[in-house]
């Protein structure tokens, strides 16, 4: 019983990072109605970012987070201008295919450069033990850092003018434009933020588990599950839903083989989409037009 509890708690810690990743998706989705199918590739980019920095400079892994965050932001803005800008007003099919194609390019380059070999980032951090059970220090650190980053995002969105502009554009782009908000720049900014979140969550995951170029797919699926659970365009929901998913994984992993977790999550995804299209929480960043 205690073992299950420990598994659940550990799951919640990891779930926090899932929530962070999902915030990246939900931000872009909420602000510009675009589903970012490069999300998985960006998570992998974050993983490799940490790996390469640590490998090249020997800095501790956590010091690499800031550069990865900044690089992710730049990549997101670039992504916006290259692939998204032209298709923002068009049917969702187009933006899906646009981001999908960039994903192909990124994963293709990744596999060409690094193959499908397993990579690992060495982090040594003392764990926290209760009785027989140890919570890995990396898991605790990841949860703490997630809280910090999520907190910073909140401060930005709800306490700064720029953040208000982002929320305005998410609510009603035309109206925001009419009051003088430079919507295109806000869209690029939001895309930058979304990708930065993806990259930094990838960086955190790299401190937890080994990874390959193709790991992005599984984490992308988890991010989407979390996003629909929490409600599209709802960062709070994403974080909470991430914790919920982590909790679910914590419950499930002692009882079923690892590959089944993905099946379970997919079934959950479909069920939530069908039964609760608005997510399990009702507060939203972006109001639906009546």
């Amino acid at each position: 019983m205690i073992g299950l509890l420990a598994s659940i708690l550990d799951g919640v810690l990891v779930g926090a990072v899932y929530g962070l990743a999902a915030m990246g998706i939900t931000l872009i989705w909420g602000v510009m109605d675009v589903v970012n199918l490069t999300h998985g590739a960006m998570i992998v980019a974050g993983m490799f970012g940490v790996y390469l920095l640590v490998d090249a400079t020997g800095v501790p892994a956590y010091a690499a987070l800031a550069p990865v965050l900044l690089a992710g932001f730049a990549a997101g803005v670039a992504l916006y201008w290259v692939a998204i800008h032209r298709v923002v007003g068009q049917p969702p099919l187009m933006s899906l295919l646009a981001t999908f194609s960039v994903n192909l390019v990124l994963i293709g380059l990744g596999t060409a450069l690094w193959g499908t070999v397993l990579f690992n980032v060495q982090v040594s951090l003392p764990g926290f033990s209760i009785g027989r059970y140890t919570f890995p220090g990396t898991h605790l650190m990841a949860a703490v850092l997630t809280a910090v980053i999520a907190g910073a995002l909140y401060l930005f969105l709800y306490r700064t003018r720029l953040g208000k502009a982002v929320r305005a554009v998410a609510g009603n782009r035309e109206a925001a434009e009419l009051v003088g908000i430079p919507t295109t720049r806000i869209l690029a900014l939001s895309c930058g933020l979304g990708v930065a979140l993806a990259c930094v969550s990838g960086a955190l995951i790299a401190t937890l588990f080994p990874f390959t170029v193709l790991s992005g797919d599984a984490y992308q699926l988890k991010s989407f599950v979390v996003t629909v659970l929490g409600g599209m365009g709802n960062p709070t929901g994403a974080l909470l839903a991430g914790l919920a998913l982590g909790l679910l994984e914590g419950v499930a992993t002692p009882f079923m083989p690892v590959s089944w977790t993905l099946v379970l999550e997919f079934v959950l995804f479909v069920v939530v989409l069908i039964a609760f299209p608005g997510g399990l929480l009702s507060v939203r960043l972006r109001r639906r037009r009546p």
């Binding site: 589903v35 199918l37 290259v82 692939a83 032209r86 298709v87 049917p91 969702p92 099919l93 187009m94 899906l96 295919l97 646009a98 999908f100 194609s101 960039v102 994903n103 192909l104 390019v105 990124l106 994963i107 293709g108 380059l109 596999t111 060409a112 797919d217 599984a218 992308q220 699926l221 989407f224 629909v228 083989p257 590959s259 089944w260 993905l262 099946v263 997919f266 079934v267 995804f269 479909v270 989409l273 069908i274 299209p277």
Partner: protein, 320 residues
């Protein structure tokens, strides 16, 4: 009446060309054309959802792979003949697609697209642990099954012609759907689903039917393809590359047209062949596909047929 339309005969000519080309016994050509036929089958059926209704199915490989698994299982464990097994596989996959579609297609395009990405992962994870279907090692077919078709060499020819037949059926299916009331409804959904629904198009049913229909022939093709290889395993059966390529091909040739996927398949196969032999680009197959797709989406969303129709609008009356 449909026999009077020139396009009907253009498709027939294409099928005849495929059938006649390797008649001299050119096995290499046959294999190349077989792959093209598979691509055309997948792209044409994908078009029913993508080009008409505007719903991207990222996981169309799931039909192909499941079709392969059902067919091989029917032949291996239930000892059915090839044609029966292949048709049953198609029916089984279609039925599953209809049920899944009824659930997932009540939602909009984005949600559906995401679900199709996940479904491949989920099905692959499931099949990998499903022992009756060989789990992660897969199933090997005993070669005596080829004896029923006159031995391995003759069997390969039979399979080729059957696949050409499937390709032809796919083109005709795509054509008949487009010209039917069902097709009008699908295209209305693709243009503006809200307006279509207000006009009376029963969208949930139509979308599920289209999804199910678009599953049948790829499943049959999958059955034939994996029977030919006498072996199936999850990694091959659910390789996302093939459904990705189907999307690129459909967009490249021109979504919503019938000739488009065929044209796109031909061009793509040429490109791919060149890439694989070129030293620099061997690993960059997907990168090139991605760049190509992005260029099409950003600058020529109608694909090659879109460009051709803009230049020669009269052709719209002849080609589709």
């Amino acid at each position: 009446m449909i026999l009077r339309r020139p396009f009907f005969w253009i498709i027939a000519a294409a099928i005849a060309a495929f059938a006649a080309a390797p008649l001299g016994g050119d096995v290499e050509l046959r294999e190349s054309l077989l792959l093209a036929a598979v691509y055309i089958t997948l792209a044409s059926n994908l078009n029913i959802m993508l080009g008409y209704a505007g719903y991207v199915n990222f996981g169309s490989i799931v039909f192909f792979g499941l079709g392969g698994y059902f067919c091989i299982w029917f032949m291996n464990s239930l000892h059915w003949g090839l044609v029966g097994a292949v048709l049953a596989a198609g029916a089984a996959v279609s039925a599953m697609a209809f049920l899944f579609g009824l659930g997932i297609l009540r939602l909009r395009g984005i949600h559906f697209a995401l679900a199709t990405i996940g479904v491949v992962e989920a099905v692959m994870a499931f099949v990998t642990t499903f022992e009756p279907w060989g789990g992660s090692t897969g199933i090997y077919l005993s070669t005596e099954l080829f004896q029923a078709l006159g031995g391995p060499a003759a069997a390969l020819w039979t399979i080729y012609y059957l696949l050409v037949g499937v390709m032809g059926l796919s083109l005709y299916l795509s054509y008949f759907v487009k010209r039917s009331k069902f097709g009008v409804g699908l295209r209305a959904i693709g243009q503006n689903e809200d307006a279509a629904v207000t006009l009376g198009v029963p969208a949930p049913r139509y979308k599920a039917a289209a999804y199910s229909l678009s599953a049948f022939l790829p499943a049959v093709a999958g059955g034939l393809y994996f029977f030919k290889g006498a072996f199936i395993q999850p990694a091959d059966a659910f390789d996302l590359t093939l459904s990705t390529e189907a999307i690129v091909i459909t967009m490249l040739g021109g979504q919503g047209t019938i000739f488009g996927p065929a044209l796109g398949a031909y061009l793509y196969e040429e490109l791919r062949g060149w890439l694989l032999t070129s030293a620099t680009f061997a690993n960059f197959q997907l990168v090139v596909a991605g760049v190509l797709l992005l260029a099409i989406v950003l600058f020529a969303p109608g694909g090659l047929m879109g460009l051709i129709y803009r230049r020669f609008p009269r052709l719209k009356r002849v080609l589709e």
